[in-house]
Symmetry: C2
Subunit: 265 residues, 2 copies
């Protein structure tokens, strides 16, 4: 289990005889679609170095991939509004454990104004107590949209459990078409270690990034590969939120058009 | 001319025999509606201490109050999208002169990531050259709204000149009603030194903040006074953008309802 091994190394080594203050993990790597086994990593850190904070970049995972902060022992999650929350971009969303909050530097040691969590904290506490408070004008329209996004996710019969399940099942279905019917190769070694929200596929022989603008003309936005070493060999398809739960035919229609495009139609 | 005197002091004194690096000015003070005589202050700084940067907080002024960076010699303007631009809140808008840009610290000396202008600069230059570039996902919906806001402002026959004029004339009209017909006192010593986008009025004898929720029920949002010493003695009314250029009757209708409310109707 490479993820567990990596976490074991990080959690055990420390520096100057002291455990590391924190380990950081990218839950889903946007450039390659690799999904980290976050729970396994948390288990290792808890067992080997319980004081080490687990900080997760969940920009490309939160809301769509299973992530249980309290249960797994994740201390800090940082994400954005524009992926599986189904909300326009512009909000940076942060969740911190009590342990993480207790490690915050004092207000005046944080060399930052807008991004100083100590300045936001009393505001957030006032909001929770339904009291008006002010630090900077919030992006109200986006926060209204976030509310709608959160409600839509929780409206499933079993709430977030269903939401996660729908994304997992959708990936299985799509990968079956991609690997089976279309004979394309995933960038990841297996489907199991790939994200449920994003698929990276290798271009078949003789094809390359020229298919992306053709697909765009057909109404689909696919993204180019991003990895510095192999970026030119693959492309990326997002499948999260609305296009999974409400209009899953978008995903399969896209693959039909992709098949045609690769066959020169 | 108090503003000029103040700027003279700031620009002249310096520290340790060196001129000040910058002076900062709030163009319109949100809490009191005082409008700084920015041009006069710039003239003084240029004459007395030409190396000093003029940095303007224009959150409550930009787009509605006259502000001419190149002509007046303003080096940096910081504002938001949610006032006279008529755009939802969420964008921080910054304009810098070449002089200000030449004084930026190098990238690694700026103890900040998202707000590090050196990291944004190559992205902005790429956008200007119509080349794709990426640092952080922009708040596309708000940027689309900003485009619409900017176009609406420039769509007047004489562009921004008309937009400024409409705000000046609207203030004159409103202050005449407020001071004349309604017999209310402004918080500022005169109408001349008050903003064209915002009016602070003192409560008449026997009235106080209880009128604000009554006005809210009638469909108008007025804001309480904010100044730490006299906050309880006055209230604030915004008049900018749409409610000036497109629906000026909103302003006069509000004052009619305010008159009724103050008369207990």
């Amino acid at each position: 289990v490479p993820h567990r091994g990596c976490a074991y190394g990080c959690a055990r080594v420390g520096r100057n005889g002291k455990p590391f203050e924190a380990i950081t993990v990218t839950h889903v790597d946007t450039s390659t679609a690799v999904l980290a086994d976050l729970k396994a990593m948390c288990d290792v850190v808890k067992a080997v170095s319980p004081d080490t904070l687990v900080i997760v970049d969940a920009v490309c995972s939160a809301a769509g991939e299973e992530l249980r902060m309290d249960e797994w022992g994740v201390d800090f999650v940082l994400t954005g509004s524009q992926k599986a929350f189904g909300v326009p971009p512009g909000l940076s969303i942060m969740c911190a454990s009590q342990k993480a909050m207790s490690r915050l530097l004092p207000k005046d040691k944080i060399k930052n104004y807008f991004c100083n969590m100590q300045l936001w904290l009393p505001i957030m506490e006032a909001y929770e107590a339904r009291k008006p408070s002010y630090f900077a004008t919030p992006a109200c329209n986006l926060i209204g949209a976030l509310r709608v996004g959160l409600e839509q996710m929780q409206d499933h019969p079993n709430g977030m459990d269903d939401y996660f399940r729908l994304h997992r099942e959708n990936k299985t279905k799509l990968h079956k078409i991609i690997q089976g019917e279309m004979g394309l190769e995933l960038l990841t070694e297996s489907s199991e270690i790939a994200s449920n929200l994003l698929t990276c596929m290798k271009y078949p022989a003789g094809k390359g990034p020229e298919i992306l603008p053709i697909m765009k003309k057909k109404g689909w936005i696919l993204a180019a590969g991003l990895h510095p070493e192999v970026g030119g060999t693959y492309f990326r398809m997002g499948h999260m939120g609305y296009s999974v739960t409400t209009k899953p035919e978008y995903c399969t229609d896209l693959l039909k058009d992709l098949k045609d495009t690769l066959e020169g139609k």
